[in-house]
Amino acid sequence: MSTRLKSGGRLIDRSASLEFTFNGKRLKGYAGDTLAAALLANDQMLVGRSFKYHRPRGIVASGAEEPNALVNLGSGARLEPNQRATTTEVFDGLQATSQNHWPSLEHDVGVLNNYAARFLPAGFYYKTFIHPRAAWKHVFEPIIRQSAGLGRAPKDRDADRYEQAYGFADLLVAGGGIAGLQAALVAARAGARVWIVEQTAVWGGRAPVDGDVIDGMPAATWVDAAVTELASLPNVTLRVRTMAAGVYDHGYVLLDEKVADHTPGDGRPKHRLWRMRVGRIINATGAIERPLSFAGNDIPGVMLASAVRDYVVNWAVSPGDRTVVVTNNDDGYRTAITLKEAGMDVPCVIDARVRADGALPARARGLGIRVETGRGIAKVKGGKRVEGIEMCLQAGEGAASSFIACDAVAMSGGWSPVVHLWSHCGGKLTWDDAHAFFRPDATRPPITHDGSAMVYAAGAANGALHEALADATHRAKIALQSLGMTAETATAPAHDLPEESPMEAVWIMPQGAPIALKAKMWLDYQNDVKVSDVQLAAREGYESVEHTKRYTTLGMATDQGKLSNINGLAVLAGSLNTEIPLVGTTTFRPPYTPVTLGALAGEARGEIFQPLRKTPMHDWHEKNGAYFEPVGYWRRPYCFPRAGETHEQAVHREVLNTRSNVGLLDASTLGKIIVKGPDAGRFLDMLYTGVMSTLPIGKCRYGLMCNEQGFLSDDGVVARIDEDTWLCHTTSGGADRIHGWMEDWLQCEWWDWQVFTANVTEQYAQVAVVGPKARKVLEKLGGMDVSKEAVPFMGWADGTLGGFPVRVYRISFSGELSYEIAVPASHGAAFWAACVAAGAEFGAMPYGTEGLHVMRAEKGFIMIGDETDGTVIPQDLGLDWAISKKKADFLGKRGQERSFLASADRWKLVGFETLDGSVIADGAYIIDAGVNANNQRKVQGRVTSTYHSPTLGRGIAMGLLRHGPVRMGEVVEFTKLDGSTVKAKVVNAVFYDKDGEKQNV
């Protein structure tokens, strides 16, 4: 059984006892425990079920590489599925439940898959479930989905919040082991701005566990001194519980700081996402031990050798009473020594190498541990827990030579550098035959903006398993040099390590294992990928490493193959009779370990999900019950419903009141761009299809803008302010886009033209006072002459109204007598209130965007985005009058000359009236006779705007119809979504006040 040892445990505080639950069972742990350590201390080796076969799964590792020990952490609004027990710090009240089983962890029906495992090899689903056709969606897929999936889906809105922050550094050191600390020291002493981050809560990495001696002192002491020095320097930032998640181009790095994972609900953000821009990155992320592939290597109790000694040394937890160590290198002996010295039984060290004569094997033998060389494990016995192993010759086929009873197996297949950060932006790897691993190829680093190396790997992450400090010193020096700094005098501390004999790559144990054993050798524990599966993939032609990965799902589990990838590659290479480096690796992608989506999204939630633009009158609208609609980042009142009114009723009331009395519209969102300079007129003549240079001062003119394709992109009224100044109104959604468009042409094409532009949209509030009584409202406000003579239609004037400085435009988008009045934004709210007050006796009511739409449709005015959709040219809309025939050039002119745009067969704008007075459906098409070559019903047009006109009491519509204007009086058929059609007559698009008398009074 696994137990807590009486003494020891460098990371736990035995005076701080904590209580937590696992599957409802109350268990005890200590401060400093990881959940995995605490579970083992309570003899909870079985922690979950695998993805495919639902086999029992125990803890394998002690860190981020753990594939098995995933739990549902917390509950309700704090439920977090797939939380790794090995990286979860225990806190008082922690709740964890195991995953992927039914009805319980101990008794899981899904384990039937295990008994059928032979029928479910890699890729079996591609070969079956093909017939009958409907069965995949309705029978097989639901079963597969239900049995897969691991953790529970949260149901509630997250109770926690997340924070994002920016950081900048010359050098970011990822990894707080001795290599990282040394690199940080070298850089910090040289004066660089340094960040060093460590994913766990503790500095120092493996060295203190392995009893390294640095500069004559225990590694832990050296680590403390290093951290103390770094913390004392003003140019250094240290962060624990902070994982370097991903390296992006040009020195951009994401760090995930787990601020309050271990103190949930304390009010702090759960995570803080650091968005770093750094000069160079030191990748000091260490190395991960590899499992060995022997039959039954997935049975709970089989663990990484390094993890076993982590549990003993760090948390005083012994995973087993009798532990067999199996290894292909000297490092594995450290575990045997550690266990023996802690008083545990180590029946045997099984070494696949023929000779084991290094210093560590000698020490193990000296402690009386039996060492068997040239041997391997033929098979592990046990179900939910290891019961023993059968030993065999490594060079043989697995005939057992003896049975050794044990309750744990510690395996060491050598180490693999953690090269993720090196690889994210394209750093290349090289195969190191001596250590049987891929390590960073310093001659092919990932590059940054100027083409220089962006990442430097250091220490074990660079393959320097035994010279980590010297390597880190060296790499830090080079990195500093590339930043124009120097650390010439820096030296590496003395690092005393026992000599190690060469390891020997062992990819399959025993070497000649038959298929029956290979079908029990796990590569990917979580996804249930075995040696036999990779061999099957190779046999079937899935030869590329990416094919094998995808066909077998090797390395696609939540650990992203941290334990399985190299072993899988080696098996694939063996199956293909080729070398491992020729097989290559799969691509490393961010993040290094999974990052909570909430942290990636940050604070932008709910109301502040996106920026919110408000007009100066926004508060008034809110107080007066406006129903808003989003227009870009603006929110505009759609209508102002009164008690008991539907939105539709409110819109009709607003329209009728405006037409009979007076309506007030907040038009502040309208784009306003000042164009000024000696060449401003010439510039506007290029920008608009019409002529603006001839516009008299004091007058307004409607204008159209097209893109270079010739398609209509924006419209609005232009006012000539003075000799060299024009004010261009754009659509509400278009102001920023059009301003950018203007600047594009001025800066990049006509840069010798003398023109300034300024987007003053938010500098002015604008109120449209609209309706037959509009003038009376303005006269009531008083201050300037607003008569037809003083401010004629399509004219403008400056003055004051009600004491406010105003500019009054006589323009109309409704067909009524209409004044659009601009005031400085700071006066907007007050001026609006003054208009409301002055209008009261004339029946003034505010109206919203929908009323505006209805009224403009009644008048046959087009709306950008309704009549246009990016494929419509002004000529389609009968706006030829707004296109200059005289100008040699304007933006879009050449585009409109292309054959398809100049065709006589284009759909053109007309009005429609249904024969029965009903409203044509939004989006309806006008059908034509017959079908096209693809058997689709032919069409000849479509509706673009369709409303019930409260003014006329029936449906009105505008739309595009092939040869439209010459077909007046014809009856056409519009589609309805119920499959029927509605007949409508082609009419003039102006339904109300055809001669435009009402606006010109």
């Binding site: 599925p81 797939n82 090899p121 079996f124 689903y125 591609y126 070969k127 079956t128 056709r133 995949w136 969606k137 597969i144 239900q146 897969a148 999936g149 953790g151 889906a153 949260p154 149901k155 509630d156 809105r157 997250d158 926690d160 181009d249 298929i515 029956a516 036999s532 099957l536 046999r539 899935y542 590329s544 094919h547 995808r550 992203q560 992608r589 961010p590 989506l597 909430g598 990636l600 709910g606 999900f609 996106q610 919110l612 609609e629 989003p630 010739g710 985005g865 959709d869 292309r898 054959s899 398809f900 459906a921 989006g923 098409y925 059908i927 070559a933 689709q936 069409v939 589609t975 979504l977």
Partner: protein, 415 residues
Amino acid sequence: MKRYSVFAIAREALNFHQGWERAWKSPAPKASYDAIIVGAGGHGLATAHYLGKNHGIRNVAIIEKGWLGGGNTGRNTTIIRSNYLQDSSAAIYEKARSLYETLSQDLNYNVMFSPRGVMMLAQTHHEVRGYLRTAHANSLQGVQTEFISPQRVKELCPIMNIDGPRYPVLGALWQPRGGTGRHDAVAWGYARACSDMGMDIIQQCEVTGVRSENGKVTGVETTKGFIGTKKLGIVVAGHSGQVADMAGFRLPVESMALQALVSEPIKPCMDVVVMANTVHGYMSQSDKGEMVIGGGTDGFNNYTQRGSFQHVEETLRALIETFPMLSRLKMLRQWGGIVDMTGDRSPIISKTPLGNCFINCGWGTGGFKAIPGSGWAMADLMAKGEPGPLAAEFDMWRFREGRFIDESVAAGVAH
């Protein structure tokens, strides 16, 4: 070739599956072929497949510089739908969708087509009108869609928050027979079927030049030597510009990164595909349980298969706003693909200035769903030398004439 079935699996199980043959052969190139397809992605393999199946042209090589299915076929978010606005788009995507319905049976390879339904959310009034327009168009195009209410949206996708403070859901365009498929399996299934017809799939073979005489292609230079052909089909997505350049013509195409990501797997919680265009994000749940998430493209020319973080961030913000339960899930992996974007964001299936050379590209962000239809139409074009009705509008000369096929016009998304 051995047929795949549950019985075959049972038989092979007795021998630990040591009797399975290669799914596709790995031959050396012959001196020449009747047709060469450059690019063994989904579109290239499907083109070859239908050349053989529909037109009896089987002396075909499919040349791939990397591994088959290794480009965008293996990097997309696997959405299959055909609720497009424009007639020509709807025709080819619906052809593709209907072929997906029976593709597993046709190929004897389970591509896991899962018609679970695709909904495109309308979150502004403008979007409502746009999707209504699409619904009307679809009703005439033979594409089964309907515009559904917010309440129906909630029933179909209970984890969605339809009452968000900024962009409440006002309805959705719903295509019940849209869904997802297993992207790799589509490439593998076509590859196996092509190989079975005697076609040569030549991987790890990069085209380095296109040889032509008198305005006709005679063959391609490759890293495995010169290979002659009577017809050439270029089907290389993001690298179309490179190969077109070798053939001596230019394309209205730019290559950009499109990113996607998956969460860690969780138990089934979402049985539809949801696309939210206003806020830029789309999501489905894979059979493994991962939430598969995508957004918009990065805006600059890029061949690195890496994108910029801000787009991932924007997409996740949008989706957490729409699906609050996502917040505590974790991003497992993010990646990018290189998409080829044309001037109107619609594909090109076209003859070229070279008489016997044809091109199929420009699928941009929407290629996976089109694979069977694209291959069908391209095979037709290559076999006959003239486009059939499916490809007719997608010629490369439409840009000169201004004859756009613009899907963005009705709040449409191209994904």
